[in-house]
Symmetry: C2
Subunit: 246 residues, 2 copies
DNA sequence: GCCATGCCAAATGTGCACATTTCTTAATTA
DNA sequence: TAATTAAGAAATGTGCACATTTGGCATGGC
């Protein structure tokens, strides 16, 4: 009934960091994809069963995700998918807005043709995705636009912070669904690029600000829609085929 | 010879999160105070001995600090105090500069007399510390000024990010000693407050930018000065008296 | 004299056996 | 019948016993 261990049953100290990573990535991915509904309990034994690894392995990953504030850890009561409040979401969006204001301020000092060209190409991609109504691609490219902006500064700290904010807001999308159409209007992104080309800091910031406020205004609370799969086996179906029961 | 266990020798599952915290805080504090020199190895057995806790306890804390990028973790080779390059330091300072530009942009929309008053009071404290040549207080207050600025926005995400940057740069001070006089000139802080009072975004940002560039310019590499205590027993001398050998 | 190789001690990584806590369910009582 | 409580089950937390890996050191060869 129980999953069989991979090797002999006695203290197997074989180092396998890749396996940790695999489990971590699998859970993180499910989290980012919104497959794990807010409030769902992530218990150690079932996850160990599903991934075919020891409980301590799961344990370590869960705590790591907790330290990254991606899971809500309660002492002696395990891990749950956090249920962000509307204020939490606003806080993330505001942080992104403030950060981008700083980024743009610094960026106008370093704009060159190569950057403008790169951003323009990206805008084309965004438009293409929009015209063919590819929602998934639109969401992805929309986030990527802002990533391009920070990465143009080449500062690892800032890039990391933005990545953190984006991953956090992507989780929140599953709760506070920001309308059905594309998250970021391509035109607004285009306006930012235009302001950058003109080296107009004030306009760039103003446009960016309006852009974010526009997105924020579309946030609304979905009162407990489809609970999505509560069953973890279903959520992690395609991952880690590993070894079935013999 | 070995530290005695706290209870009976058999699997003691007693939950004691406070003890984890104590060890975490002790090591973090030593790190922030600069008592732990860059490159020093933090091995598990000696730390377990020093703090009088099990090795797994130490292990968990070490990995947590690694996840926070405060320690450099190498698989199968343990934890070391990171040795930041000059570029790393510049990166942190630049991130702080960019972030503060965004903060100021947002802040001028919300300045009120209460805030100005609070900042002015803080400036007075800074001046007092400077006139009595209290270097420790100056460094602390200097960082606190920037903390006041973000916290005025009331955004937890931004506050957390700044705290992260500050704690990181404080560690770096031990390697790249930024001159002997106070880190931030009080006058420069005062100029920021003045610009805020006048609701002048551009000036506030410009002053802030100059301020950071000024600090950055003072960074210089101390070629391997006093190695500070390599002995961990000395570093963690005053902490955790706990229970001596009976 | 210097570099290569093998061995041994020390440190790290991991599964497991518990203790402890929390959750669930059934039984008892007002 | 509803609320309370007690007991069992399940889940979490932790120390320990290993396996594995790394680092240092002595020995031997060039």
């Amino acid at each position: 009934m129980a999953t069989q261990r991979r090797r002999n049953g006695k203290g197997n100290g074989k180092a396998n960091p890749a396996e940790d990573e695999a489990v971590y990535q699998a859970i993180l991915h499910a989290l980012l994809e919104g497959k794990l509904k807010a409030g769902v309990k992530l218990a150690e034994p079932p996850l160990a069963e599903i991934f075919g690894v020891s409980r301590e392995r799961i344990r370590k990953v869960l705590h790591r995700l907790g330290a990254e504030r991606r899971l809500e850890m309660i002492p002696n009561r395990g891990a749950r998918v956090p249920r962000p409040t509307l204020d939490d979401v606003r806080s993330v969006y505001e942080a992104h807005r403030v950060l981008e204001a700083g980024v743009l301020t610094q960026l106008v000092r370093h704009v060159d043709d190569a950057l403008i060209e790169k951003l323009t190409a990206h805008l084309a991609e965004e438009r293409a995705a929009a015209t063919r109504a590819d929602r998934a691609a639109s969401v992805r490219l929309s986030g990527a636009f802002h990533v391009h902006l920070v990465e143009a500064l080449g500062n690892a700290e800032l890039s990391r912070f933005l990545a953190d904010l984006l991953s956090r807001s992507s989780v929140m999308v599953s709760v506070y669904e920001p309308a059905t159409d594309s998250i970021c209007a391509v035109d607004e992104h285009g306006a930012i690029v235009e302001a950058l080309r003109a080296r107009d800091v004030a306009r760039a910031i103003a446009v960016s600000r309006e852009h974010f406020l526009h997105v924020e205004s579309r946030l609304h609370l979905d009162d407990e829609t489809a609970p999505a799969s509560e069953d973890l086996t279903v959520v992690f179906a395609a991952v880690k085929p590993k070894r079935r029961k013999r």
